[in-house]
Subunit: 301 residues, 2 copies
Amino acid sequence: MSASLQNIVIIGFGLIGSSIARAVKEASPNTNITAYDSNHEYLDYAVDNDIADSGYDYPDTYLAEADLIVLCTPVGQMEKIAQSIAPFLTKKNVISDVGSVKQSVIDHVSAALPYPEMFVPAHPISGAEKSGPSAGFAGLFKDRWAIITPTEMTDLKAIESVTALWEICGANIDFMEPKHHDLVLAITSHLPHLIAYSIVGTASNLAEDLQREVIKYSAGGFRDFTRIAGSDPTMWRDIFLENKESVLDVLQRFHEDLSELQKAIRQDKGDMLQDHFTKTRKIRNAVIDSGQAGRAPYEDK
Amino acid sequence: MSASLQNIVIIGFGLIGSSIARAVKEASPNTNITAYDSNHEYLDYAVDNDIADSGYDYPDTYLAEADLIVLCTPVGQMEKIAQSIAPFLTKKNVISDVGSVKQSVIDHVSAALPYPEMFVPAHPISGAEKSGPSAGFAGLFKDRWAIITPTEMTDLKAIESVTALWEICGANIDFMEPKHHDLVLAITSHLPHLIAYSIVGTASNLAEDLQREVIKYSAGGFRDFTRIAGSDPTMWRDIFLENKESVLDVLQRFHEDLSELQKAIRQDKGDMLQDHFTKTRKIRNAVIDSGQAGRAPYEDK
């Protein structure tokens, strides 16, 4: 591993944080990993399983030793975390994050940090249903995309450190403008989650008998939505609030398109439906061709 | 195999029809399977691979020999098929189908048949992305539900034959009132498909650059929708048109629930979002507990 990553602090030691730690330890066992989390069970798990060398439930001088500090909490907590670690930071510490929203994280975290040019916003795209450090594993990011969204002020050396981290984790790296990232993710991830949460919520409002049947016969499509709607509630609450503008924008487009299909059904316009479904099949084939269709083994658990 | 199933005719030799044939041949190689399909390639495939003993592209006297005739075409074609086979039928032939909509199939098919009491409507719940006989396999229905929806007039012996078929295929069998089936399936399958078709359609309307990125970064949730939206266009056109009433009904409920979430995001109601997402997680856990969460191996292809 490059000399610039001897000491890594991971703040928020859940699924993502623990998976980064596992991947780093696997590639380079001598790298020192420090876990910072308010959950003592997570810290005990990390140290007992040799995923982290030490664990803290408070910020302290250990932060100044870090080559890289990665914020792995829900995005709504990142501003407070940044404020709490700020007093211990020097210009040598590179800071990064893994949030699914970039512009609001940049705004909030940069304002809290003494050296905002050392903050390299990033986002590894790798969904997972389960939460917590025991659900993490070293291969979580392998062959998935990690998107780095630097701003004009971001330090180039700092970007190199974060690039090195994601290379170690086996991710494919890409660069994107933060606001554009938020729009793309609103379409590919945030809207699908909102819709899944909504349709599964509709089922949870059904009469008890009907709800039992819906669960029993869920293999016809509903099941796939429940997987998405089983994602971490706090993480997703934060994502929707922090990426509000893009989410509401794509939701509006979705509403319009769904209304068109609704009207086609009501008016028996079979040709229009079939044309639409033939178009979407092409998109499916493009996803398969892009190599992104395969599911990670953990997704079937 | 029970003596009542020595001769089976399968009309529509695609994914479902060929999978039934494979399952029967695996359990009872001596059962005679006849395939009837307008697609000669499908018939050749069936006979060349010993999945069917003979193939026809027209109805004829072979139908009168059948212990069981299973309609495996898209539901929109079943009325015409029933009309075309009607002249060859005797009271001995049991007829069944595999359509995802039951009430309209019952109405149309029963009216066309000389002995409507011998028609046993059924629906095996087992989604699959690919179409055609080469995508079929004997285990498609194993441990999935097959729902039989008899009417008051349905012959009891005929129901026994169809029950025997699905037992041979390894399915769990359940009975349901046809209209109720159509409502449950509208929630568990038809609405999820309509929504997936809609959101993937939204993506297909994006500017080319953005669409390329959406496909590239589809692993965050969108990918799962493309799988559903890659389903057979003709089959799904028919389902939405034949189950119009229930689909439009549940779509209305979905619209209302989605609008509530939309409002919560717009008004920064984080607590409401988190409560909702916690509720949906419980439904996910119920799906896992029901044993319906596991994906069949073919679903990852």
